[in-house]
Symmetry: C2
Subunit: 312 residues, 2 copies
């Protein structure tokens, strides 16, 4: 199958492994790219030096396309972007910020730039900023999310109508059937996070991976809406946040409760009670830990089978 | 196209027009059924006498299948159910309550019973109670909704795996593409609300219909989570509810704020500021008021076209 997304990234399948904090380093990224999809290194949890190391190791492990995801809401972006340019990373996904901040500069270095959005308004801004594609990320998605709570089923058609550049769907997608559903809505590719978080090559803690495959419906919710809304697992930390929000806690109190290093504590160190466990709602669909290449293959096979018989 | 849903209801297209409070009376219901889909009378806003009148007028206007939707959380259900049995209504959709409460009694009168659920746990309960099908209603849907906030993209595959009876998808569906996406996920039919709320035959107020077609992303949100979660439009009344919730208002205060007749005020009397405007997130996709038969035809044509070429 060839479409604008496979052509844009020079990949075999229009499947993108999401760049995930504390989870997607060079190992996961290179294995996914070698399997015919697009791997992304998640830069958010990396110092510039660590990012450089991951990029270099990734280049040594694959000669296929790969990319780096850079959330724009953290500090130290300049150094990360300089490394990305110096190391000639071919593809950058930006998220959680203004697409006009970096797109032009990156494109001057022939880097393909994709921006992650949660509304058609920001999709248009990304297109105007010169992005090559957008990721339409629905309410279901793990981690940072939009305030409008628009789900993938509603968001993808809206964004496909709003822009001419290719749309990649994200949020609620872990299987080949969900991939096809998103593409029926008009997307030309999908970005998948949670399913790759439970790959053997993901660098997050095994406790976190087990929590994902054991998660049921309702085990993730969007919270911290007064700061930046985040979808995370319900645990002791989550309940403290909810309680504070229900009691009308001011922003400062929530910031203090969040503190520093919560995401690392949960996802990297495996503290399931006190850590911040960012993951998608689709966790409830995911049942096993597997090698990333097998995950790519399984999604693609199910996609093809469903495409050959889309309805019962 | 024939499948278990078209066979169960004896209809041409696997499209169900949702039973909607103050919106779907005999006129909308009969027109939809005559157009080859399944119309439902929304009993929630009707006294037993009014319900009887609507059923009788509907029977006079169509000889096709039609049904009544009965939310189980209101009082006076017994009288409504007696009328449904006496008038030989062939199909009942129950929602917002325990499926074991009425299913057996209705089925003894050869009535086809479908229950609306927002989780696979309740889907299994509905199957065990003897329901003929379930509606899997995602977080996107208007009106009453589940606490787990599971979206259609995630919920439909989970429920299809949990039960053997046919699954009808609801929430976030207004077009033929969205219908096909839901069916790719495993549903054998779709229930559509918001799109039919802006039909010419819908009995809700023209102000409300205009507000729906003018709605943008983020203009509906799930609220009243401490009582029964409801998706409604953001208006003055909504903001009062949000403010009370953000200030940690107790349940009683929220109940008092909600008061009586809010839904009627908004949806039937057209008071857009002070009424409760229950509608789906998919409003942002809907752009015109049209005859219901035309809506059925448009959805079905787009469904067929997309099925013939599901991906770009």
């Amino acid at each position: 199958m060839g479409n604008r997304v496979t052509q844009l990234f020079n990949i075999e399948y229009p499947i993108i492994q999401a760049g995930m904090v504390w989870t997607s380093g060079w190992r996961l990224c290179s294995v996914v790219s070698n399997a015919g999809a697009l791997g992304l290194i998640g830069a958010a949890s990396m110092s510039p030096e660590i990012l450089k190391e991951h990029i270099q190791k990734c280049k040594a492990a694959t000669n296929k396309s790969f990319g780096v995801n850079v959330p724009l809401l953290y500090q130290g972006i300049e150094k990360q972007m300089q490394i990305i340019v110096d190391e000639k990373v071919p593809i950058v996904f930006t998220s959680a910020g203004n697409p006009s901040a970096w797109t032009k500069q990156l494109k001057q270095h022939n880097i393909t730039v994709v921006h992650v959005v949660s509304s058609s308004k920001f999709a248009k801004k990304a297109e105007e900023a010169g992005c090559d594609a957008v990721v339409a990320e629905g309410f279901e998605a793990g981690g940072h999310n939009g305030r409008e709570e628009t789900t993938t089923m509603v968001l993808v058609p809206l964004i496909c109508e709003a822009v001419k550049i290719p749309v990649i769907a994200a949020g609620g997608i872990a299987t080949g059937k969900q991939m096809l559903a998103a593409m029926v809505l008009g997307a030309e590719g999908v970005q998948i996070g949670s399913r790759f978080a439970v790959s053997e090559e993901a660098s997050c803690h095994i406790n976190f991976k087990k929590a994902i495959i054991n998660a049921s419906e309702g085990d993730t919710l969007l919270t911290l809406k007064q700061l930046t809304p985040v979808r995370m697992m319900r645990n002791d930390f989550f309940r403290k946040v909810q309680e504070a929000e229900n009691n009308g806690a001011p922003k400062e109190e929530l910031e203090q409760l969040l503190g520093k290093g919560r995401a690392k504590k949960g996802m990297f160190e495996g503290n399931l009670a006190e850590g911040e466990l960012e993951i998608g709602q689709v966790s409830s669909v995911i049942k096993k830990i597997a090698p990333a290449a097998e995950i790519v293959e399984e999604i693609w096979q199910e996609f093809k089978e469903t495409l050959s018989r889309p309805v019962k």
